[in-house]
Subunit: 301 residues, 2 copies
């Protein structure tokens, strides 16, 4: 199997993680983002600009972002569901924005309140606006590996959105395994169908245990950018109690043992996973948080 020398991780706990947890105070979000910034991570999805009625967890996005330490080596990003959200992200000073659109019509309507084509129609204008602000746009394609309402998603549906994103002027695409329906086969099928010169990132959930197997498959196919969430925070909205985002420390732990560099200090990251556990106030399911890395030995009996 092919593996790269280096993988780039984007930490999504502050946004995707906390968006799927009960609301936490702005001060805790700031503390979490600043702690993550000191682990060696080079990308952090900090907040989203969405309607506060839809996502009350992110109502304080501008306040959080204003107070966060801005480390020059880190690319901080904000997610938005539409042009209005992108405007707010740019006004707040973000130079990297993510626009989310689902491969599934049903999921896009449930998530964003409109059809896929309506989302796509807005992309050229969003990209032009971002360009004026010298900001980059990534299109995140939710439900890329399956939809909780529609089931399997044809890879061609995903490929169509990639084409639209590229044509609109987006600089990057990301494939979201929104509810953990991805398997190695789905990763392979998707990569077989998608042809783009844009940088590609994959975002896996560990809802059904497949996250690291999917990541390994993607590595073998040349993908080198992944999302992950410290402590695995962010549950699965359709299965109470089930896990969501793959834990960043599980990704780093496996990659480092494989000799793949991430730039992240694993011990520092595990300490932040402990902080994340405090912040969300429930025991997190990350195995590397609970059992420690494989190098943490037990006293000899």
């Amino acid at each position: 199997m092919h593996q790269p020398d280096r993988v780039v991780l984007r930490e999504v706990a502050p946004r995707d993680g906390l968006q799927n947890e009960p609301p936490v105070p702005a001060a805790d979000k700031i503390r979490l983002i600043d702690a993550l910034a000191r682990t060696g991570l080079s990308r952090i999805e900090a907040v989203s600009f969405v309607h506060p009625r839809a996502v009350p967890q992110m109502a304080d996005a501008a306040e959080v972002w204003a107070a966060v330490e801005k480390h020059p080596g880190i690319r901080y990003s904000a997610l938005a569901p539409n042009r209005r959200g992108v405007e707010r992200a740019l006004d707040a000073g973000f130079s990297a924005v993510e626009v989310v659109v689902s491969a599934s019509e049903t999921h896009n309507r449930a998530n964003i309140g409109r059809g896929v084509d309506e989302s796509l129609a807005e992309l050229p204008d969003i990209c032009a606006l971002a360009k004026e602000h010298l900001a980059s746009v990534e299109v995140i394609i939710a439900t890329s590996f399956g939809c909780p309402f529609e089931g399997d998603i044809a890879p061609a549906q995903v490929a169509r959105i990639v084409e639209a994103a590229e044509a609109a002027g987006a600089g990057r695409v990301a494939f979201g395994d929104t509810t953990g329906m991805g398997t190695p086969r789905r990763v392979t099928d998707l990569l077989d169908a998608v042809a783009t010169g844009l940088p590609m990132l994959m975002h896996f959930h560990d809802t059904r245990g497949t996250a690291l197997a999917n990541l390994l498959t993607a590595l073998d196919r040349g993908v080198t950018e992944f999302d992950a969430s410290v402590g695995g925070i962010g549950g699965c909205p359709f299965a109470p109690g089930a896990s969501g985002n793959v834990a960043t420390e599980e990704v780093v732990h496996m990659l480092h043992d494989m000799g793949v560099d991430t730039g992240v200090d694993l011990d520092a990251l595990i300490a932040v996973a402990e902080l994340a556990q405090e912040v969300v106030g429930r025991p997190l399911e990350s195995g590397v948080l609970r059992a420690g890395p494989r190098t943490r030995l037990s006293p000899k009996p």
Copy 2:
């Protein structure tokens, strides 16, 4: 990546799973084994014959085995740590026994109360005894991917035990990731070091999230036999609260979506995972148990 058409799974919840849980009544064990036998599984590790002071959970092994329905298509096995245990297993009528020895000296002493070489010295006699009873012997090599006391285990140490097992007349070998220290790299390194004509099985724990990534790596290298535990029962003895055995339904779920046959009825297996949860009396962590398979959709909003 290479994948086979078919994988053979051995279900280990009744033995390896329950051995790492608080004791449960014999009747529940029998119910669990009989339910597993109706899912399409072709191998079940039913009990172990160990000293009841060392493992009180298995004190009723003979009683359980006597009462279990014996399905003709299923290979039931019993584990033993030494010749005395093998004798008891053969006396109880087992035609497949597993002898465990650790690659780690410290772990073998902690687990079996003697050194690796003492364990290996007994193997020829055990194999001869089994042969008299027309029974097969599998040597399970614990801590094959790392030891919680010693840390990394040199693959050459594992290879030495494989050679000893083959020379002694064992019919099979299994590599145990006893405390979930395996990663894809460790799987590759081990398979690079081991040269044997014996059938090989791998036994992964999901303690640090790597179980299915390890399994995928092993598949790519031609391994087609794996252990798994329904519901993921069996914790990690060195990390309270952390998970142990990979859940059978997570393995089956991923393999089936990849088009790899296991002979197992996934829905029936998930029903047994629910039974296993009842039997151990705590919420199990299997993602496929909690969230359902990827084909179980949510009502459209």
